[in-house]
């Protein structure tokens, strides 16, 4: 029995149309069995609560419960588009996330490859550990540290760095343009270790023989990196990028709210959808509106990632996300 299954898999005949899903299940029983626990888990933990998105279209009344509350159409969505902040928050959210995806990819891969090149293994390990360290700090603590650096009166930068450079002290928390740089710097500092680890694992999986063969052919190290390392890391790069693109409409709340101290004068460059929604609902705590905002972010993310996935499918089908 198993032999026949294996044989048919090896032969990988094109499946006859009309042979249903059940046939496939029957054929690959073990594979489906492996998947079952996680499948059920996601069904219960994720898919069933997803039906709760109807709250976004309801005027929630606790006495009536979620199901019986009145439908109010798209009213809960209005606040997202009503004010002139709509453009600002959309631009900031998309802009920063695109930048973060780009930086995460380029710096992450570069760091991983560079660390892999360090001859002294002890040093390489040490660097890796240290690069990963900031990831352990919570955003609230990062916010404290950034504040200690930038606070107007006796912050580290204003007290030591700027005077040393002969530049006048600056009020960082009312200079929106500075944050176009500060936020990505903080982001890279805190999160890059994560990507580095990810790509290091990818590097480790590359068959060493490939390099040896290339070396014998006389390929220089950077040529090897270009023609072996990068192409073999590409699937991982594509998958992480695609996944991040799906969340391009969701911002890191801690970064944009806590690290900026929610300073009003910075909103032009620091206000994102998540912070805007949070602030807008602080007073009312309206679950319907919160749900509407989440659904809106999901939908846009879904559309964008579907497009990206379609493009990837055109170029290299085997690297599609789904």
């Amino acid at each position: 029995m198993q032999n026949t299954v294996a044989a048919s898999a090896i032969a990988s005949k094109p499946e006859k149309k009309g042979r249903g899903f059940l046939h496939e299940v029957n054929k690959n029983k073990s594979l489906f069995l492996l998947m079952l626990p996680t499948f059920l888990f996601l069904l219960i933990n994720n898919y069933i609560p997803m039906l709760g998105t109807i709250i976004a279209f309801k005027d929630l009344d606790y006495a009536k419960g979620i199901l019986k509350s009145d439908w109010i159409g798209f009213k809960n969505f209005e606040f997202l588009f009503k004010s002139d902040a709509a453009f600002r928050i959309t631009r900031n959210t998309l802009g920063y996330n695109a930048l973060f995806i780009f930086l995460g990819l380029v710096i992450g891969v570069t760091f991983a490859i560079a660390l892999n090149e360090v001859k002294q293994k002890f040093l390489s390990k040490t660097y890796q550990t240290i690069v990963f360290l900031p990831y352990f700090l919570s955003m609230i603590v990062v916010a404290y540290l950034v504040y200690a650096m930038l606070k107007p009166e006796n912050g580290f930068v204003n007290k030591f760095v700027l005077p040393a450079l002969g530049v006048e002290a600056m009020d960082w928390y009312s200079s929106p343009n500075a944050w176009i740089i500060i936020l990505p710097v903080v982001w890279v500092w805190k999160y890059i270790g994560y990507g580095v680890v990810l790509y290091l694992a990818g590097l480790t999986g590359i068959d060493e023989e490939l390099y040896e063969a290339a070396a014998i052919d006389g390929a220089k190290r950077w040529q090897q990196i270009k023609s072996i390392t990068i192409p073999l890391l590409t699937p991982l790069m594509i998958i992480t990028t695609l996944i991040s693109i799906g969340s391009i409409f969701r911002a890191d709340f801690g970064l944009f709210y806590q690290v900026t101290q929610d300073a009003g004068m910075l909103y032009q460059t620091t206000d994102v959808i998540d912070t805007y929604v949070y602030r807008g609902l602080l007073i009312s705590n309206d679950i319907g509106m919160a749900s509407a905002a989440g659904l809106y972010q999901s939908l846009i993310g879904f559309i964008i990632v579907s497009l990206a996935n379609w493009v990837v499918g055109k170029i290299s089908p085997e690297n599609k996300l789904y």
């Binding site: 198993q2 090896i10 690959n28 594979l31 492996l34 998947m35 626990p37 996680t38 499948f39 888990f41 996601l42 933990n45 898919y47 069933i48 609560p49 709760g52 998105t53 709250i55 090149e117 001859k119 293994k121 390990k125 040490t126 660097y127 550990t129 240290i130 690069v131 990963f132 360290l133 900031p134 700090l137 919570s138 609230i140 603590v141 200690a148 580290f156 500092w189 680890v197 290091l200 694992a201 990818g202 068959d207 060493e208 023989e209 040896e212 070396a215 220089k220 190290r221 090897q224 699937p235 998958i239 992480t240 799906g246 749900s291 989440g294 659904l295 879904f302 085997e318 996300l321 789904y322």
Partner: protein
């Protein structure tokens, strides 16, 4: 033979020059990463009066362990919280790795017909969620997991990102020829998975294991939402509670019916809590690291 070997070594590594450049760069970058961490540690050991007077400093004028004394007044709670965090982290990581791999493997197989559908099934959960309230209702009223230790583990079992990374690793780094030949030898799918795929995928297991460990270790949110009995909260929640309280009070201070100043501890205590919260997990990193480092086995990969 000897010549070929030497040739290989020299070409297979970067030049001395680029090695030096890389080293210089990472030395500087390491300092940038380290300083804030050291700063946190130093603040936690700084005398409070000195902090008020001179602000944060890498070289505090007066050292003090009073912050730690303050926190460890009642060590039983912290020890218990450590216990919970460690149990949750270990059990959660193991379970999570097993479930992730079991799902990631079939959808990584190029000959698996529904791999795209089942990938999408996972990825979709990353895009859409029903929001906190329906999910909370499910866990508290139907699964009856509120205020149990399991509720600190179960919600994070599957992370779609980790799962898809693992899938990608499987499909790119496990040669399908190996699987096929095992099949011809009559090995069952389960056996192939356990005896061939898993050993070959150590680096990705280490990576996802590390991510998962950190997820569990750093989580305080589940404790906040679900735990009623203060004896069941985990370490990060215990440590984060103060920071969150300060934020909440500063937001509502002007409207509250009374003042709650007394509960706000000093800055050094807050930083000490941060140190206590992240301390032990730092040692987890090297444990995982050895699996995704090429280490000393250059040239000796395939036996």
């Amino acid at each position: 033979m000897r010549n070929a070997y030497q040739n290989k070594v020299s070409l297979n590594e970067s030049s001395k020059m680029s090695n030096a450049i890389i080293n210089t760069f990472f030395s500087i970058y390491s300092v940038i990463c380290l300083i804030p961490i050291i700063l946190v540690v130093m603040i936690s050991f700084t005398d409070e009066k000195a902090l008020e007077q001179f602000g944060y400093s890498l070289f505090p004028k007066e050292l003090s362990v009073s912050a730690y004394k303050f926190i460890f007044q009642d060590p039983s709670q912290i020890i218990r919280a450590y216990g919970i965090t460690i149990f949750v982290t270990i059990a959660g990581t193991i379970l999570s790795l097993i479930m992730t791999a079991m799902y990631a493997y079939p959808i990584s197989r190029k000959d698996f017909k529904y791999k795209n559908f089942f990938s999408f099934y996972v990825y979709f959960t990353m895009l859409f969620s029903g929001g906190l309230v329906p999910w909370y209702i499910l866990y508290s009223r139907y699964l009856h997991l509120k205020d149990t230790i399991w509720v600190l583990i179960i919600p994070y079992l599957i992370n779609a990102f980790n799962l898809l990374v693992m899938r990608t690793y499987f499909s790119n780094n496990i040669p399908s020829s190996i699987i096929e030949s095992a099949k011809i030898d009559g090995a069952s799918e389960i056996r192939i998975f356990v005896q061939i795929v898993i050993p070959l995928a150590k680096p990705v297991f280490a990576t996802i294991g590390l991510f998962s460990t950190l997820t569990y270790w750093n989580d305080w949110w589940l404790s906040l939402i679900f735990i009623v009995d203060d004896k069941k909260v985990n370490l990060q929640y215990l440590m984060n509670r103060i920071l969150r309280t300060i934020q909440y009070i500063s937001q509502n201070k002007s409207q509250m019916g009374g003042s709650v100043m007394d509960t706000i501890p000093t800055e050094s205590v807050r930083m000490a809590m941060c140190v206590i919260g992240m301390g032990p997990i730092l040692f987890a990193y090297p444990f995982f690291q050895k699996y995704f480092i090429k280490g000393l086995t250059v040239g000796a990969v395939k036996g």
